[in-house]
Point group: none
DNA sequence: TAACATTGCTAAGTATTGCAAGCATTTTTT
DNA sequence: AAAAAATGCTTGCAATACTTAGCAATGTTA
């Protein structure tokens, strides 16, 4: 969402790295890095950001937010709503559904043996 | 990490939602949702995943990893808060079990009407 | 000085996300 | 039963991430 012009360039230069050195270590082309630093790229992919976060020593989540992706950090309210790890994957469920799912899971597993 | 075929469709149907209902709430076109569910989309953007995570009640980070984006390390405090009843009793579930549970959840909920 | 390497950058091309419009079929309403 | 609405889906199309190839300027070495 916001402007991160100057940010990536300052980051790289603070480490004393050239575009081609970053290219070697991240396998992101120097051409693209140049475009990124000059503000021609709106939202580099998470994978690209992850590579950059490693070489620059900056948090992956920091870079994600920097370019405007939704924040990765969970809010406490959401954590409390999602009680179990299953709920994290299938969405929130009621207590009754939880029991029924448990039984069904048990049935599923016994059937596949 | 690779294939999430069946997952998004199972998620939606477990909630008893139509493509156009999800479109209304997330502002993601039903056309795109259809392609996503049929496996024609490799990596939907973080913003799209964030919207889906909200309407489906599934962790944003879970969806991010599901489609193959780099994993984000959780804070220890959050991890401990996340695991509760079901996880402690049955342990983790496989991807196949996950989809099967979603389908059963859909059946459970449709039965009670 | 001359040859060569390195630097940042641009232009053109490929691939993919996501949308608008529309179609065929099923479901709902009258 | 007919009309209307809702549903899932396909087909172009625009926008954009990212690459390869190359250029001009600067730095390095013989």
């Amino acid at each position: 969402m916001e402007n991160y012009i100057g940010y990536f360039k300052a980051l790289r230069e603070s480490k004393g790295l050239t575009l081609r050195e970053v290219e070697r270590q991240t396998e992101v082309s120097n051409a693209y890095l140049s475009q990124l630093e000059s503000g021609k790229i709106k939202q580099p992919s998470p994978l690209t950001l992850h590579k950059l976060s490693e070489i620059y020593g900056v948090g992956y989540d920091i870079l994600m937010e920097k370019v405007g992706y939704p924040p990765l950090k969970k809010k406490v309210a959401e954590i409390n709503r999602d009680k179990s790890s299953i709920a994290l994957r299938v969405g929130s469920i009621t207590e009754d559904e939880e029991v029924e799912l448990l039984n069904y899971l048990k049935f599923m597993r016994s059937r596949k043996k």
